[in-house]
């Protein structure tokens, strides 16, 4: 087992290197430069822009810049933001708790909705419940988050005036009141993201369950006289979860990507909105760092998924 994990980690290193190289080259070749605002400012002589470019090594060849970035990264130096003139890791760490809170809650909501609904729908295929669940799921994943986000704002903030639509990263209240405010402001973004996730996941859980439920060993379990609940939870669900785990694990990093839109709509100061504003201002060190973090997440969650397989189904041995 530990050997397997080690081997997988060894494979991860070159793939991350490859990813970082591709990212770096793409960013270096992308149009726009971080000091563009200086160019339209009549107070700034062009020499200043040129001096800044030289100072930050932007005029050096790409491979030198890449090697410099790699060397710094290896020492834990993530570089610094051209726009904020502060260290990138500080910037990311500032945003991380908010992202984890909102995205994490959304993911939990998605799981809490998808698994019971999916399982229940699969045990009674084509029942009224199943059909309603299916219809809602189809509607759910056909509506993009920017649409549902706006719809929620119009209903719950503008018309009903129940919820705030500007997310505040630090609420001044304390104790219960703080908790209440935290939850209140997160309801809309969490629901928008969570329900979107839940919709597709429900369909997935349902079909995985359907596949398993027809297998002989489930029939055997029933024939032995086990109760319906025990058969479903202990025997069928465990096996049905294997493909679901893959989906969730692979979706984790994608959720960060999907959250970009939601974070923008609700002004959530998370990683996604950091990425967007950095892309718009051509703040390449930040874009590089954030996308690289995403890449690491993809690799990491793949690894976690592989390990989970073994736990869910011991027949999948680590070789």
């Amino acid at each position: 087992m530990s050997q397997y994990v080690l081997r997988r980690l060894m494979i991860a290193v070159p793939s991350l290197l490859g990813i970082s190289l591709v990212l770096f080259v793409v960013l270096a070749l992308a149009p726009g430069d971080p000091f563009s605002e200086l160019a339209t400012n009549p107070n700034v002589p062009p020499e200043v822009g040129a001096a800044l470019r030289a100072k930050f090594g932007l005029d050096d060849p790409i491979y030198i810049r890449y090697l410099r970035w790699l060397a710094a990264m290896a020492q834990g130096d993530w570089g610094f933001s051209f726009v904020s003139r502060m260290n990138v890791d500080t910037l990311i760490l500032q945003r991380l708790p908010t992202t984890l809170y909102v995205i994490g809650s959304a993911q939990v909501v998605a799981l809490l909705v998808a698994i019971p609904v999916g399982v229940f729908a699969a045990t009674r295929p084509y029942s009224i419940f199943d059909q309603i669940a299916n219809t809602l799921a189809f509607i759910g994943f056909s509506l993009p988050t920017f649409f549902t986000g706006l719809l929620f704002i119009l209903i719950f903030s503008v018309t009903l005036d129940w919820l705030p639509f500007v997310y505040s990263s630090d609420i001044k209240a304390t104790g219960i009141r703080w908790l209440f405010e935290q939850v209140r402001q997160a309801i809309m973004p969490v629901m928008v993201l969570g329900l979107f996730q839940a919709a597709s996941m429900t369909r997935f859980v349902r079909s995985a369950m359907l596949d398993v439920i027809r297998l002989d060993y489930v029939t055997t379990a029933r024939a032995k006289g086990l109760g319906q609940a025990k058969v479903i939870v202990k025997h069928a669900m465990r096996n049905a979860m294997i493909p679901v785990v893959t989906l969730i694990a692979l979706q984790m990093p994608a959720v960060f990507g999907g959250a970009i839109v939601t974070e923008q709509i609700f002004r959530i100061p998370g990683i996604g909105s950091l990425l967007i504003s950095s892309i718009l201002s051509n703040d390449t060190p930040v874009v590089m760092a954030v996308t690289f973090v995403f890449a690491c997440l993809v690799v990491l969650f793949n690894l976690i998924a592989d390990i989970l397989y073994g736990w869910l189904d011991p027949r999948i041995s680590f070789r």
Partner: protein, 598 residues
């Protein structure tokens, strides 16, 4: 106006036979406005009075929280590194300049004790030096006294190329010296009629020497206070998360009486203009929304029964269509739009004139800008003193068509006019932005009716406005026939704005397209007029020169002015914000207050 009359009037003010207000009103009758009238008084030897303050509260604090919404959040808090107005706005919450501009373009004292004038000896007669007296007893937020040393330090800090400040251009060519602890003198190399540049307004904010002295030059980035400002302003720094939120709390030692009104201030960043307008005007979640670039009918809809309203400030920002003087489709020595070429179509004055007639500014105002725009025949639209009255504009498809017809441009089988085998086909580019694309559509339609084929192109703003040498789509490269945008006029003086189109500033491959004369327009008369204006210390003659410069531009049709744009802000009904078209939104923040009842 005659010089003589003006001088007589200034003398009357000096002798006390006419009061200042009477003078300003007379000037208004001559087509000038208050900002420049007061500058004229200053040059004429009458000390400037401060603009009247609208501030009502009679005690410090008690205004509760002020919640500001900036849809682009400030990303750093050092005014010398502020690359955009958002950063200047954020820094200005804590740092202060010597003086700022009020809504009428009057100078307002902040850290200075008096406004320099000939009378008080602050201005020299030759226009080559300015003496600023500083307020006594001003303290930095950490309790250290503010003094002339701080002002001199800011100059040294900013002019050092290694510090890499964006304010270097203002400080590079001046000398700042300490006279005594509360007096500084600025020396200019040549007579400088517009002396209120360094240390004035949001970009002129002053940072403390005792915290930044170690971080001058190459170490500038390492200063811990770049992100944690210690200033002299009405609010003390509490917290900053770049791009997200800035918090400040009332400064109990603030140097202005009864100010500030609010106990805390919060500036939240991010999102977009429409939802910012909604959060202020419709739901009232925030008190003030910055730079609400939203179509007017949307704002009108939000205002119905809402908790806020829109607020406008008049400045000198002009949205224009620039006409390329050079040929974007021919390469000379590997350079397109080379100054060595002439535009094959636009070099015909009839075509330029026809194009100007095909821009329906009235329609653009009605359909797009609404209350946020004014129709104008001029490139230079403010302050009023510099605005030409000699110009006019008209929209007429028939006249434009006749003009082209008479000049020999005959319609071909496809309805597109041509002459000598050259078809009237133009590429019209701009940045991606709702109002701009709509304007493009309006212009294209009119052109089509007159037999001009216009191809529209829109470029992402971050690319269009970038200085990236490798990118062909920047406004400075101008690889198109027409392009539309605006260049913000950041001071109530046109010198900086008009200097750009001097022929020495033409954007070329040689200067890596960093030259700011992007239409590549060369006109000797214009050059001479601008040069003369920059050395002219007589304010009246100087204004006449800038009016002439504008008229030369309009005669040649280098630019087709589309709209004189106002600043649009959203404010809660109870909030009394003070915003100036000549300053940043937070520049007059110390004067903001909330009315007890809306």
């Amino acid at each position: 106006m005659l010089d003589k009359e003006l001088k007589a009037m200034i003398d009357e003010v000096k002798d006390g036979r006419m009061d200042r207000r009477g003078f300003v009103q007379r000037m208004l009758a001559f087509g000038l406005t208050a900002p420049m009238a007061t500058q004229i008084l200053a040059i004429g030897g009458v000390a400037l009075a401060e603009g009247p303050s609208v501030y009502k509260p009679t005690k410090r604090g008690g205004g509760g929280a002020l919640k500001l919404l900036w849809w682009q959040g400030p990303t750093l808090l050092n005014p010398h590194f502020a690359t955009g107005t958002k950063d200047q706005d954020g820094s200005r919450l804590f740092y202060e300049p010597l003086a700022c501009w009020d809504p009428d373009g009057n100078m307002k004292l902040v850290l200075a004790a008096e406004i320099p004038s000939l009378q008080n000896g602050g201005l020299s007669a030759d226009g080559k030096s300015v003496v600023w007296k500083l307020k006594a007893g001003v303290k930095w937020h950490d309790g250290k006294p503010f003094s002339a040393d701080d002002v001199v330090f800011n100059w040294e800090y900013a002019r050092d190329p290694a510090t890499a400040t964006v304010t270097i251009g203002v400080h590079r060519d001046i000398i700042v010296e300490k006279v005594d602890d509360l007096t500084v003198r600025i020396l200019y190399k040549k007579p400088t009629p517009f002396w209120a540049d360094a240390f004035v307004g949001a970009p002129g904010s002053i940072i403390p020497k005792h915290l930044f002295a170690e971080y001058k030059g190459a170490k500038s980035r390492e200063a811990p206070n770049n992100l944690a400002p210690v200033g002299t302003g009405p609010y003390k720094f509490v917290e900053f998360k770049p791009g997200d939120v800035i918090r400040g709390a009332l400064n109990p030692d603030y140097h202005m009486p009864n100010r500030p009104h609010f106990d805390t201030v919060e500036m939240k960043g991010g999102g977009d203009a429409v939802s910012a307008a909604r959060a202020v005007i419709q739901t009232g979640e925030y008190d003030f929304g910055w730079n609400i670039q939203v179509e007017d009918d949307v704002l009108l809809r939000l205002e119905k029964g809402g908790k806020g309203k829109t607020v406008y400030a008049v400045g000198g920002d002009t949205e224009f269509i620039a006409l390329n003087s050079t040929d974007p489709n021919t390469e000379v020595d590997g350079e397109r739009s080379s100054i060595k070429t002439k535009h094959p179509l636009l070099s015909d004055p009839a075509v330029r004139k026809a194009l100007s007639m095909l821009v329906d500014r009235e329609a653009v105002k009605k359909v797009i800008y609404g209350r946020a725009g004014r129709v104008t025949p001029n490139f230079l639209n403010g302050p009023e003193k510099f605005v030409s009255k000699n110009t006019s504009w008209e929209f007429s498809i028939e006249k434009a068509a006749k003009l082209l017809e008479d000049a020999g441009w005959k319609a071909g089988a496809d309805g597109i006019r041509q002459k000598d085998g050259k078809k009237l086909k133009l590429l019209y580019q701009t940045a991606i932005n709702g109002p701009r694309q709509k304007t493009q559509a309006i212009v294209k339609q009119a052109c089509q009716k007159a037999g001009i084929d216009v191809e529209l192109k829109s470029v992402v703003a971050s690319v269009f406005f970038s200085s990236d040498v490798a990118n062909p789509d920047t406004y400075a490269k101008f690889y198109a026939d027409l392009e539309m945008f605006q260049i913000p006029m950041s001071q109530p003086d046109p010198a900086q704005h008009m200097r750009r189109y001097h022929s020495r500033n033409v954007a070329t491959k040689e200067n890596k397209w960093q030259g700011v004369n992007f239409p590549r327009w060369v006109n000797k008369e214009y050059d001479a007029t601008i040069d003369a204006a920059e050395a002219e210390t007589d304010m009246v003659k100087r204004a006449a020169l800038y009016i002439k410069a504008n008229d030369i531009m309009m005669q040649d049709i280098v630019f087709i002015p589309v709209m004189h744009r106002l600043k649009v802000e959203a404010a809660a009904n109870t909030l009394r914000p003070v915003v100036s078209g000549w300053a940043n939104e937070t520049d007059n923040l110390f004067d903001w207050y909330r009315e007890a009842t809306g």
